[in-house]
Amino acid sequence: MAERLRERIREAAGRAAPLRLRGAGSKDFYGGTLRGEVLDTRAHAGIVDYEPTELVVTARCGTPLAELEGALAAQGQMLAFEPPHFGSGATLGGCVAAGLSGPRRAAAGALRDFVLGARLIDGRARELAFGGRVMKNVAGYDVSRLLAGSLGTLGLILEVSFKVLPRPATEHTLRLELPQHKALESLNRWAGAPLPVSASAWRDGELWVRLSGAERVVRAAALKLGGDALEGAHAGRFWSGIREQTDPWFAGDVPLWRLSLPSAAAPLELAGAPLIEWGGALRWLRSRADAATVRAAAAAAGGHATLFRGGDKAAGVFAPLAPALARLHRELKAAFDPAGVLNPGRLYPDF
């Protein structure tokens, strides 16, 4: 199968014909324009190696994320970054290419933090392997982490090895009523103390906090934080709604902006109330404000803004890069994909 994918890329590169690398298409909405003939990666599927006591799983790009998570759950383990699926059938390849992490990100780390190694096919149809299946590896540049969030512009991600973690023994969710600035202040204070906060979400004057870990620790923290406890199934549905953006807050067609900010940044003076995750470091905004206004506010707060869903992509989906970084992006793209056939325009319009 990998050979067939290579052949398609070799052939497309030969005639400089753009290819659109695609798994289940659950994240078609994300990123810049979709161009080129679809190259479906789903047939290259399956878990290659999973050794729970090594805390490492290796799987092919077409493996459904749900299947992978199921296999881990059967051994009491998980992908700690809680990747959003954004639709049934979401694949591992798409998950890594999008590089998105879910509610546990602020506590456990991002997708890229758990990538240990990868195989890819670059734009010259070479099958390359970087990193490995071990926890520590500093041989060569860290190309496998670079693939996380590259949206398929550097290569077709064939196979990825992840560090996995045990599922927490206990999870407990609390709800508190707090205005935005108080919620931000509390979240930053708690993050500076040894408390087992594993997720947070604030919207419309309510703050949800998830505690994870050993039972005694979770119980003690719950007493300390106060608020109302949410019953387990209810809590599960709530966090799934945040992770998959099926929570009613995300409904409607007003453009959805993703603002990545320093967690302690003050509430932004932008029209529309946010939904805040990651202890304050991720702020979703429904707003028809023009892109320049949103981006300027994010930049002033020390972060950046992405037009995540909807809206007018003509103004650019991702925050424009400083000239020096833009040049590095173009040079790296040329190093991986000299003919520029892999997902052109998906990340930035110029490559």
Partner: protein, 494 residues
């Protein structure tokens, strides 16, 4: 010893020093051999080269000017922090400038609310935690040389430590790196936010061994200091059983703060040296640390004891207080200086293997001890599979040196063969550059060179390190390893 500059190079040296003196004070440009000699090597002393010129800038503007001037003159530049690196990553260029960041020692800002520290690259690893301590915070990665090594060097090497299974490596704990490209262009990777737009260039620059950019300011994450920590010391009468016990701890859903193993030759050497209270009859001992809230630690220690007992531990001791905890660790941290006491020289390897292959690899090393007639105690970051076999030899005996090289070569090849890597945390530098030919194929190496060219088309920044040329791989065919002993022999390591 590296050669002093040949007469032919003197003119070039004068020209470069003069170009730098145009904007640097006299004390910041060293070129006389008595001044440049101290920079001839880093922690890997087997490789020495006196640099043509040493530059000691104090400001970012000066760093930029140095890079611009060197770029204009096409002079190689090698950045250096404290020089404690173990792979020769800061080996100077005989025809270039050693750029010391030693004067960049300022902690710019500690923000206890945002839980970050903004520091200059010459700040020592431990100094960050010291500065954060009043707020109950600390910087997690703790390479054992943390009293001396700098954060700039940690970023270059993606340094680990004994707590990285739970708390991650440098790459997991750095938010932002500001610095300059080889031509002096300012660069800013990452952000004080948790991510930045575009490719993850922050992940790429961490561990790039000073070949892509020169860092001048680094923002790190600070974590709340765990209020409690205790360590279990367990004895095993068999190495494989100890390896299986590590797997059993992980299988029980525990991620210990630290999980270290030492074999009997290693414990015997350190016990004589520091008196850590190790069980000298055990074939191997495991140190397993739990940290967190007191009740969390109590529960985890109970669970660990149960798992280790079931796994066949012959003796279990739990640290009763902080003094005892530190005493248990003192032996582990003194493993390297202890080897220095029982052998004139020792050669440290840094392979990482899948943990399940531990028994096989240790057996293989045992066979090699007989084959080469050399002793090789083992210390092992068991939690993350990072093995540090220490070959004991006498560098004055040419035969032993040669046998050590061959021994080490076989061990590293074995690490690759079982699915591991030639370096878990010390970097490639010049030391393992030939092993890179074993670890990677020519196409991967070609891509590494292309990545390097994207940042540094002229190839001036730390040239010749970390990634071998294809010609070099062809020439060496099978690689060969040079031995090196450590300076600062009493500095805790690994």
């Amino acid at each position: 010893m590296g050669e002093a500059l040949p007469v032919a190079g003197r003119e070039r040296q004068r020209a470069v020093a003069q170009a730098l003196r145009a904007f640097l004070p006299e004390r910041a440009v060293l070129w006389q051999e008595e001044d440049t000699r101290p920079y001839e090597c880093d922690g890997l002393t087997a490789y020495r080269q006196v640099p043509m010129v040493v530059a000691l800038p104090e400001t970012e503007a000066q760093v930029q000017e140095i890079l611009r001037a060197c770029h204009a003159l096409q002079v190689p530049v090698v950045p250096r922090g404290a020089g404690t690196g173990l792979s020769g990553g800061a080996l100077p260029p005989g025809d270039g400038v050693l750029l010391s960041l030693a004067k960049f020692m300022r902690i710019v800002r500690v923000d206890p609310v945002a839980r970050i520290a903004v520091v200059q690259p010459g700040v020592r690893n431990l100094a960050i935690s010291d500065a954060a301590a009043p707020y109950g915070l600390y910087y997690a990665p703790d390479p054992s040389s943390q009293i001396a090594c700098t954060i700039g060097g940690n970023v270059a090497e993606n340094s680990g430590g004994v707590h990285c299974l739970k708390y991650g490596l440098t790459v997991h704990n750095v938010l932002r790196v500001r610095g300059y490209a080889a031509d002096g262009e300012p660069l800013d990777f990452g952000a004080e936010a948790l991510d930045a737009p575009g490719f993850d260039l922050l992940a790429l620059v961490v561990g790039s061994e000073g070949m892509l950019a020169v860092a001048t300011e680094i923002t790190v994450k600070l974590l709340p200091k765990p209020p409690a920590a205790r360590v279990v010391m367990a004895s095993f009468d068999d190495l494989q059983k100890a390896g299986d016990a590590v797997a059993a701890v992980i299988a029980a859903g525990i991620i210990p703060a630290g999980l270290e193993m030492m074999d009997r030759p290693a414990t015997r050497a350190v016990e004589e040296f520091v008196g850590a209270g190790y069980d000298l009859e055990a074939a191997a001992i495991l140190l397993c640390e739990a940290d967190g809230l007191p009740e969390e630690v109590e529960d985890e220690i109970a669970k660990v004891k149960e798992v280790l007992t079931r796994a066949g531990a012959t003796r279990l001791t739990v640290s009763r207080d902080e003094a005892e905890r530190l005493r248990f660790w003192s032996g582990r941290k003194a493993a390297f200086p202890a080897m220095g006491r029982i052998s004139p020289d020792y050669y440290c390897m840094d392979g990482t293997i899948p943990r399940k292959r531990l028994g096989e690899v240790l057996g293989f090393i045992g066979d090699l001890e007989k084959k080469y007639g050399l002793r090789c105690p083992n210390v092992f970051h068991a939690g993350d599979g990072n093995l540090h076999p220490l070959i004991l030899f006498d560098a004055n005996d040419a035969g032993e040196l040669k046998r050590t090289e061959a021994f080490a070569a076989e061990v590293l090849e074995k690490c690759v063969a079982v699915g591991g890597t030639i370096t878990g945390e010390h970097g490639v530098g010049v030391e393992k550059i030939n092993e890179m030919c074993v670890q990677f194929g020519s196409e991967e190496l070609e891509l590494f060179h292309a990545v390097k060219r994207a940042y540094d088309p002229a190839g001036l920044l730390n040239p010749g390190k970390a990634v071998p040329t294809l010609a070099r791989c062809a020439e060496f065919g099978r690689r060969h390893v040079h031995a090196g002993a450590l300076p600062h022999a009493r500095l805790p390591r690994f």
